[in-house]
């Protein structure tokens, strides 16, 4: 059963703290994504990773960075979190070749 996992599911941080969001997939998919979702704005792509250490900025990369050292694992890092980074973050993976994206359950981040 194809599965994308995200940890933690809920997170509360204070402004200025560092945040680490983790994503894993057990399907050996090459491509992985990080999105944030805000009401009325839909899914906004933060970063895309085409494979290990092959990452590319998405539409809204400012304030974020990523790390992918293993194919099955993709991390999103917020250095010195800001209140406007409060959002729901989704990770997704895809096998490529125009195939379906599979989404994780999301992480709800609140930055106070």
């Amino acid at each position: 059963d194809m599965k994308v996992t995200q940890m933690p599911r809920y997170l509360i941080k204070r402004m200025g703290e560092n945040v680490l969001l983790e994503c894993g997939q057990d399907m050996s998919h090459e491509t992985m994504y990080w999105y944030r979702q805000d009401p009325g704005l839909g899914l906004q792509l933060i970063y895309i990773s085409y494979d290990v250490d092959s990452n590319s900025e998405g539409d809204i990369p400012k304030g974020y960075r990523v790390s992918r050292k293993k194919r099955e694992h993709f991390s999103l890092i917020l250095d010195s979190a800001k209140t406007n980074q409060t959002s729901v973050y989704f990770c997704a993976s895809s096998p490529g070749n125009q195939d379906t994206q599979y989404f994780g359950p999301g992480t709800r981040l609140l930055v106070l």
Binding site: T31, G40, L43, Y50, G96, Q98, D99, T100, Q101, F103
Partner: protein, 114 residues
Amino acid sequence: GDSVTQTEGLVTVTEGLPVKLNCTYQTTYLTIAFFWYVQYLNEAPQVLLRSSTDNKRTEHQGFHATLHKSSSSFHLQKSSAQLSDSALYYCALSEGTGYQNFYFGKGTSLTVIP
């Protein structure tokens, strides 16, 4: 660049009546695939339909969509809406350069009322 447009942010329909969610796109790529994703409240988006064949109807869970490259559209339709169809719907395209770049529309929130 590529883009996907969903003209309606909110759609309300009465149970049992037909529903149509619009999706148009702009792309320079010849090889493309299209998707409709559905997201129920407090859940992750999940794929509902996928198509890459022009003028071929694709169906799943009572919904159907046909890719029309001539009009750059991939509208989602259902003949009889159910209360359980209330959700957020995203149209998306994936271009075929070998990379897996996805472009999502901003989503349409569908509410089915009794």
